[in-house]
Symmetry: C2
Subunit: 302 residues, 2 copies
Amino acid sequence: MMIHSRPEMVHTHQTAPTQFVEANGNRFAYRRFGKSGGVPLVFNQHFTGTMDHWDPAVTDGLAMTREVILFNNAGISTSSGEVPGSVEEMAVSAAAFIRALGLAKVDVLGFSLGGLVAQALTLAEPGLVRRLVLVGTGPRGGEGMATLTPEAEAVFGATYAHPDDVWLGVFFTPTEKSQAAGRAFLERFRLRQQDRDPDVNEKVAPAQIEAISKWGAPRAGMFDYLREITQPALVINGSNDVIIYTVNSFILQQNLPNAQLILYPDSNHGSQYQYPALFVADVTRFLDAVVPFPTRKDTDHG
Amino acid sequence: MMIHSRPEMVHTHQTAPTQFVEANGNRFAYRRFGKSGGVPLVFNQHFTGTMDHWDPAVTDGLAMTREVILFNNAGISTSSGEVPGSVEEMAVSAAAFIRALGLAKVDVLGFSLGGLVAQALTLAEPGLVRRLVLVGTGPRGGEGMATLTPEAEAVFGATYAHPDDVWLGVFFTPTEKSQAAGRAFLERFRLRQQDRDPDVNEKVAPAQIEAISKWGAPRAGMFDYLREITQPALVINGSNDVIIYTVNSFILQQNLPNAQLILYPDSNHGSQYQYPALFVADVTRFLDAVVPFPTRKDTDHG
């Protein structure tokens, strides 16, 4: 038998083929690229988003130092199944998908709704998650999270010359500088030409809103569960998130036992797309560190 | 006339000689070391602290990439004069000291009370300050800032086998890891043997408490002044600051027009001494960046 050896194809956000894996009765679409050999980073997407809503500046930036895995959760775009009506069920799907890839330990990044899924996944499967990156997200019962915020209602309810322009209001502040960064982001996330995900169907938004509302409903002791998430965590948001209010990132950090908070200036829900170089540097440092938050004793070798 | 040339003496936190300069009717003690040629970084010290209360891991770490200037403000230890009863007067002194060194533009770092002085200095002399680092500090009228917090009363009111042990409670959390980092800090800040500053006299604490109380008193529109501080700012604190509550760092970032917030995990008022490597890296990146918070457009050259 001959062994054929060839240099591995190096894929990027633009070229990574969509692959499929069966798990939990569904067929999950995913893309996997970057530097292999370490702990992969699994991305969990926001409300109505697909794999093509990630910013290549972020995914390719992080793929320089690790394998990144994008996927569509159940019922999203090219994945089969239905979007469940709770974050916890979305987390069950996500865990099944990760296990179906044969992975026993991953880093998890969640943005917005994806950040809720990332928390629920870590609670349900603590052994599966090494480190956690929570971006533009919030805790159970967080401030203004039981319903869409008034700002989100306005932005999602408006009509736009180009449909993607909705993201200028969701992810960026009204300042000239932030809007310019937003237009640059829209150019980047439209760059992939082939094998793009079709938009989600009309059943997705209602199911996701139901799940977000259940998660966001205030209750007694609503932040207690965060004490159980002992993984090192990095919480990142913009200064002026009007979709999931910035104070919720502060609440996450204050209640997670081992978390750092970073808030970038003059930025909204998509601060990581406004400052991709800072974001990639901050996340890379956090994920690469042997000790995630080293004291001087941890770094001293003298 | 002969010109004598010799390699410049490279000083560190431990070896930098105390120098003196006259300004505003006072004689200011200072130490100046590090990489010259750029914008110097002026350190403003906390309640009852002298130049010897800075951590060499922080000062020498930052001195790798810039000149650092430590000084005793009016009435502190080896500087002449009286401690004034307001933060604004302390800022007048600080500005006079900086000008007396012949400096027209500096970066300013302020820790705790020093962070109040740094804000007042920037307000009074906006042209003098390029960038601002605010550590373990808070805004005018900040939460719990009109008086010493109950936790501060308890820590400062207790007696200690070694007087410096008070800083274990002021700067570090009760966790084993934080206390171990605290003991390592105490070893570092006692390392300088020669030419140490004598402790402040008994008039210092009452005057500084008067100044802090005036600053901390709640008033209408108390955060409005922060909109006038347009310099790029980096706000850093521990997750559990019991001296100036952590929420005040969040309030600073939320009201400063161009500020990033970083909160480190499991840390109290002295998070920069618990995580000096992270702190030095974060502050160095912020101060060295051509654009302090670059968007992708700022970093693209393609």
